[in-house]
Amino acid sequence: MSPLAVAMGRGAWARLGAGIRHHKMAAFGAGIVALMVLSALLAPWLAPHDPLEQDVLLRLAPPSAEFPLGNDSFGRDILARILWGGRVSLYVSTLSVLIAIFVGGALGILAGYIGGLFDRVLMAAMDVLLSFPTLVMGLLVVAMLGPTVGNLILAITLTAVAPFARIARAPTLTVKERDFVEAGRALGFSHLRIMVVHILPNVMDDILVMAALWLATAIRTEASLSFIGLGVRPPTASWGGMIREGFENILDAPWLAIFPSIAILVVMFGLNMLGDGLRDTSDPRLRHE
């Protein structure tokens, strides 16, 4: 077993699981998220129609038995597009949050562990990143580098690195002073090993709670950027893009914008419930029992 597998595998995930099982809100949130993720993953099998197939006769058609959520301005099936769009939204947001956890977590632990000038310079840089509102940062990156999925991920990652660095640094500052770090040094462990095997698992709880909340933010940012046309390019379905297309016909055919909005709402609601629930279970001061 690699040190990283151990560090991630035992304590934190086990506690995460227990937290979800014992906390109703967290379990409910996790259920919603799992359902949405599954439906996106299984889109090719679940979707009744091709999300790109156009049909002029079905232009702006209201919900029907064959097309339960109606059709858009090109006559495409909205249900299929929501399922396929979920893949894009979840892919972009999950990947950017994962990169942000990795980079931000590593920077935060390094800064907290090394301390001194390194810590101050790095955290000042993070403060600069934090000062950009998420959407402004997204606009900046996508406008400069072009609206591709890769740049979208880069933009969201850039806004999420700083919060993860902060959340990882704070507990590192206290954990590094604990006796087991000194004991690890006395056992000959290198600083790198102490950071990865001994400090990371103590910091994982906080990072996982943040991850759930930031996934919601990332989904929203992706939708916002797609809404203003800087995200995923048509005809590929994405929730933000669908809302924008629907916006043009909001009065004659409101279902175009409403259904993808509901999809975003439900996922964000689930993720926030999960994140808040996890925070409750990981923070003993908020524990009720």
Binding site: R10, D179, G184, A186, G188, S190, V197, H198, P201
Partner: protein, 333 residues
């Protein structure tokens, strides 16, 4: 030096300085002692006398930001550890020299299972991996007498009592069969009954493996029960070193004398207890000569220069750092 090079550990003239408000002060001065195989040397002294600094200096763990070894050698099997770099020291720590800490409650990582923490030292320092490391770790836990060790292997530290956790710490320290074990007040945080069990376990393990043990404590009762020899420290100086019975029966240094007569004993009147007048000088205002001089009833002008640690004429194994007493004995003997 040929004699010292055969000993597992010899400390020679070790001086470690710390920076306080921009100036360097010696926290320990000219500390010299050695430990033989299968021998327990107790390092005693009050809080802040430099016992733990001595241990950290031997381990090469003096915090670099404001501390450094300014003189002396730490010879492990004749090889000086002081000039070694961090990477070389990492192969020695936990392997040839291990340390047991005072606080078993906080010296184990709360989010890693105890089995993993014992096996980790093995995986790191020995070629053992996977199942082999796990099996050896389990054997170690059984060796330190953890009841139903196999069942408790994957338990976390909070599921263990203080005494059991200290046994786990001992198992970790012993994992790579060290030649030297540095025990820094390993029983201070434990109940008296558990203390006795842990001391017995340490003594048993030491005689089994033949390792040398440096036992740091301020508890003279513990010293009497576990040590072969005793080194007494005062304000960063090693002032007296002698076989345990010799030290208790014939303390030579005025501080050792005063220390022994300040232990409460059930068979004596409490009125016989003599507190030591005065206080340890702060590190920023240490006298350059004998650091006990200010509180010493035997003070003479010569005490303004630092006395050497010399063996007594009657018994060269009994060394004392005192102008008055060393002279008395060598002349009067």
């Amino acid at each position: 030096m040929s004699k010292a090079s055969q000993l597992p550990l010899a400390v020679d003239g070790l001086t470690t300085a710390f920076r306080v408000e921009g100036r360097w002060y010696d926290a320990i001065r000219d500390v010299s002692f050695s430990v033989a195989r299968n021998e327990t040397l107790a390092l005693v002294g009050e809080s802040g006398c430099g016992k733990s600094i001595t241990a950290l200096s031997i381990m090469g763990l003096v915090p670099k930001a404001n501390g450094r070894i300014t003189a002396g050698r730490v010879l492990l099997d004749g090889r000086d550890l002081v000039p070694l770099d961090e990477t070389e020291m990492e192969t020695i720590r936990g392997n040839a020299i291990s340390m047991i800490f005072q606080e078993p409650m906080t010296s184990l990582n709360p989010v890693l299972s105890i089995g993993f923490q014992v096996a980790e030292a093995l995986r790191y320092h020995t070629p053992l991996t996977g199942e082999a490391a796990r099996a050896r770790a389990l054997a170690l836990l059984e060796h330190v007498k953890i009841p139903s060790a196999a069942r408790r292997f994957d338990d976390y530290p909070h599921q263990f009592s203080g005494g059991m956790r200290q046994r786990v710490m001992i198992a970790i320290a012993l994992a790579c069969s060290p030649q030297i074990i540095l025990a820094d007040e390993p029983t201070t945080a434990l109940d008296v009954t558990i203390q006795a069990q842990v001391l017995a376990l340490l003594a048993e393990l030491k005689s089994e493996t033949g390792m040398a043990m440096i036992f740091i404590t301020h508890n003279l009762g513990v010293v009497a029960s576990i040590a072969d020899r005793v080194a007494v420290m005062y304000a960063g100086d090693l002032i007296e070193i002698a076989p345990v019975e010799e030290l208790f029966e014939h303390p030579m240094h005025p501080y050792t004398e005063a220390l022994l007569s300040s232990i409460p004993r059930v068979d004596r009147d409490a009125g016989d207890l003599k507190p030591i007048a005065g206080q340890v000088p702060p590190i920023t205002a240490m006298p350059s000569g004998c650091r006990y001089a200010d509180r010493c009833p035997l003070r003479v002008p010569r005490c303004a220069t630092m006395p050497p640690l010399v063996g007594l004429a009657v018994d060269p194994n009994h060394q004392v750092r005192c102008w008055v007493r060393a002279a008395d004995e060598s002349v009067g003997a």
